[in-house]
Assembly symmetry: C2
Homo-oligomer: 491 residues x 2
């Protein structure tokens, strides 16, 4: 592992990139904008998937799979949707290559042109609602609570690993309901699931809110979101849940007969989180020594590093390490014994620290004599000597503490970086100073929001759920306002 | 559920299609050749994934994710590979749509043409080996044991749900090794994993063998396969494991320094199974009453159907059903209580039978008085009355029996449909009669193999591993042969 990497202070953006690359999470591929998710990064995604999938199933959802391709004409059926999504996408025009008659590799076969172009899905509302038309006739078919784990493609010009890539992995829930109220309840339920996941698994405090019209999903009536704050004071949208009203049901003519025999369009929601969450995870907890992972999402929670000089010592400490591993695994702790004999302990310490393994156990010949080991926690870098016999219960508690500590630390950071601005001067001074979330009055118009964005690059992250109403004056226009909203610069 | 469906006798192909559609496994989508995998079908795939993924990890593999797109030029780098795969594929030529100036929806933006076309991956050897070049320098980096769960696209002209679709889901393992021997061992190890999975989870007996040159994966030195026999006497290739030699390492210039300091190209394997397995599952076990699922892959193993007249009875039998469900779940049995009050028991019986639920428990008010339930098994359609108190252990055993019985039944069927042919007349009579696997002598040339295929549509499914050598004469040419190989018509 290359030890040279940037600090947050020196260059935040480089620091982020160094962690992604040098902790072996992901890298750019030969295909512009597409990333390779490396095994260590993918293992984090698998942990996220497993937890989320269980939460989806516990709330009554089932998984299914819909086509990767969307006929071009489908995208045009929902007017707002096409405006938001059709602009930058991968377009399939042909279905065959042939040998170049000039003998230089292969060329596109001009005879194999598709009658209608296909789009690689940027999101699946259109293909799914065209399918739901065949599945929904009666109120008995509702609600339909379906999720899909899939890859999607949005042709991004400026990409950053995990945060913004042309192809990314995600889940997208698409539900159908008999009433508007049921659909809104579903939208809110899934927002709660996302907030629960962010806070209790990722250890990231989030603000739950509703987007303004400007920031709404293309085709939604309302977009709910969870917003997190990164260490550079910029916000990151970590998940969205959309109430789609009857927009897609109308676009694809999906009607149902109610219990009372009335024919009506179906009500819809959609909601998703993506591999972007890994970016949020990195930027929330990591430090200048590298990645820091919350125990609940770490590919392995504990690494055991044997310390030895002779072959005989190697055998003995590795045996002890294997015994400890077994003991810990019995308590549900995931453990890796790093018994590579090609690397020295110092190298291993640095590597696992940089990769954010929550707990490191070092064990050498003297430890064996004393029945002890050295335990180091990644979040605070503190070390202590523990009795081997006490390990399982102590490690279980330590992992819980680390999980809690990461959350508390992130919450404290956010609290410190959350301010109130009552004037334009205050507002811009905060933005250019500490950054963070700024509670400020806004006159409620898209024009003002756009102007603020143009002038400062700050956007309204959300109107928090259960927001306190209070009279005030818009920080830009001075026009009357009924509540403060949350501004920030964002990813 | 529509009760009308074809029998195997009447129309085997229609029978298969009816099961896929009417058991709600999958359906054709609005996109030519692409299927929608419905929740019940996808739940089977999830079970397959979970079992396989565990087997891969138990044999030392980790998961990762590589780009969906492959630059056109990559495909040409391995000569045999491009011949096999480039012909029919989805080609991305543009990255933007724009509003039609004539106001009719959207059109492809001619200004957004890619410099080099991208191919939607038909398989990932090329993009993965171009990546491995950056990951492998030394013997310390080997072996690299990586698997990917992904969607792939092959532009098929004639598609059939699960068996042959343009887009399908699969896993593809791609490993890198320091020696030829290690790579061959890996190829064989993964074939064993597939055979184990087919036999012990899918309850499908398979023949392990090696493909002839004609049937080899494009770019492989050797293709190992597992071959299963369907109820219409046709073979189905259920999984392949390829020894790729140094072909891809040479194409992408991937070299490593050995322990001895020698520079050499890396040795490779790749191996995959796909959603096609669901097709194999259906065609192996199902009958004229619909789908039959082995307990280890059934989305739920037991369905409880309450029988009642009054609301009061409904409450009481549902309560009893819930108690039984809990008891069974404690023993690791997955159970669905079908407490819908919108459908009658007869409808539910037919539906669950058609959907292949391994065990049905019916419970009515009289049963409650007696402390009994009626238990029906899907494979033999036998019913028996059991004491509620005995249920957990009896059901656990019953599920094991069903799993075994399905395997034995399929094995008996295969044995019955396996023949030896010593002359061309025998060979063609068998093919046009019972079909099945035919052990016959072949002179070992591709020409003969091709001729036989042209004349009969039969192909050599494989040369079984550990095949007995025996002198004989080729059934077509009469030329000398050293062993019998397995012929069949196939999917």
């Amino acid at each position: 592992m290359n030890k040279e990497h940037a600090t947050r202070e020196e260059n935040y953006s480089q620091w982020y990139n160094d962690i992604v690359i040098k902790a072996d999470l992901a890298e750019n591929s030969a295909v512009r904008g597409c990333m390779v998710i490396k095994p260590y990064g993918y293992a984090i995604w698998e942990k996220m998937q497993a937890s989320l999938d269980k939460m989806f199933k516990d709330t009554g959802h089932v998984n299914a799979y819909f086509p990767l391709f969307i006929p071009k004409s489908f995208l045009s059926k929902e007017a707002a949707h096409i405006e938001g999504f059709a602009k930058e996408c991968a377009v399939i025009t042909h279905y065959r290559l042939k040998n170049d008659p000039n003998g230089k590799g292969v060329i596109v076969d001009p005879d194999a042109k598709l009658e209608e172009e296909l789009i690689v899905r940027p999101t699946s509302e259109t293909i799914i609602w065209s399918t739901y038309k065949g599945w929904i006739q009666s109120y008995r078919d509702l609600p339909l609570l379906i999720n899909q784990w899939a890859n999607v493609v949005r042709w991004e010009m400026r990409t950053r690993l995990f945060l913004r890539t042309a192809e990314f992995l995600w889940q997208e829930g698409h539900t159908a309901h008999a009433t508007s109220q049921e659909a809104i309840e579903e939208t809110e339920r899934m927002l709660e699931v996302y907030a629960d996941f962010a806070e209790n698994f990722m250890a990231i405090p989030v603000i739950k809110g509703v987007k303004t019209a400007n920031e709404r999903f293309a085709g939604a009536i309302d977009t709910y979101c969870i917003e997190a704050l990164m260490q550079d004071g910029k916000a990151l949208q970590a998940g969205t849940s959309h109430f789609l009203g009857q927009n897609f049901a109308k676009a694809f003519d999906v009607k149902f007969t109610s219990k009372e025999g009335k024919l009506d369009h179906v009500w819809a929601t959609s909601w998703g989180v993506s591999t972007r969450l890994i970016g949020a995870l990195i930027m929330t907890h990591s430090d200048d020594k590298g990645l820091v992972l919350p125990p609940k999402l770490a590919p392995f929670q504990v690494v055991i590093v044997p310390i030895y000089r002779s072959d005989d010592e190697y055998q003995r400490v590795c045996d002890a390490g294997r015994a400890i591993k077994k003991d810990l695994e019995r308590f549900g702790v995931s453990v890796k014994l790093d018994d590579r004999d090609t690397q020295k302990p110092g190298f291993k310490f640095a590597e696992h620290e940089f990769r954010g393994v929550p707990v490191r156990i070092a064990i050498g010949p003297r430890d064996l004599e004393n029945g002890t080991v050295e335990v180091a926690r990644r979040d605070t870098l503190e070390k202590e000597v523990l009795q081997i016999t006490d390990l399982p219960t102590k490690i279980v508690h330590l992992l819980e503490h680390i999980q809690e500590n990461l959350y508390t630390r992130a919450l404290d950071f956010r609290t410190e970086k959350t301010h109130t601005a009552d004037s334009w001067e205050e507002f811009t001074a905060l933005l250019d100073g500490p950054g963070g979330f700024i509670h400020a009055h806004w006159d409620g118009t898209s024009e003002t929001e756009n102007k603020i964005k143009e002038m400062t690059k700050a956007t309204i992250r959300c109107i928090p759920l259960g927001n306190k109403l209070e009279d005030g004056k818009c920080i830009l226009t001075g026009n009357p306002s009924i509540q403060r909203v949350i501004f920030a610069r964002s990813y």
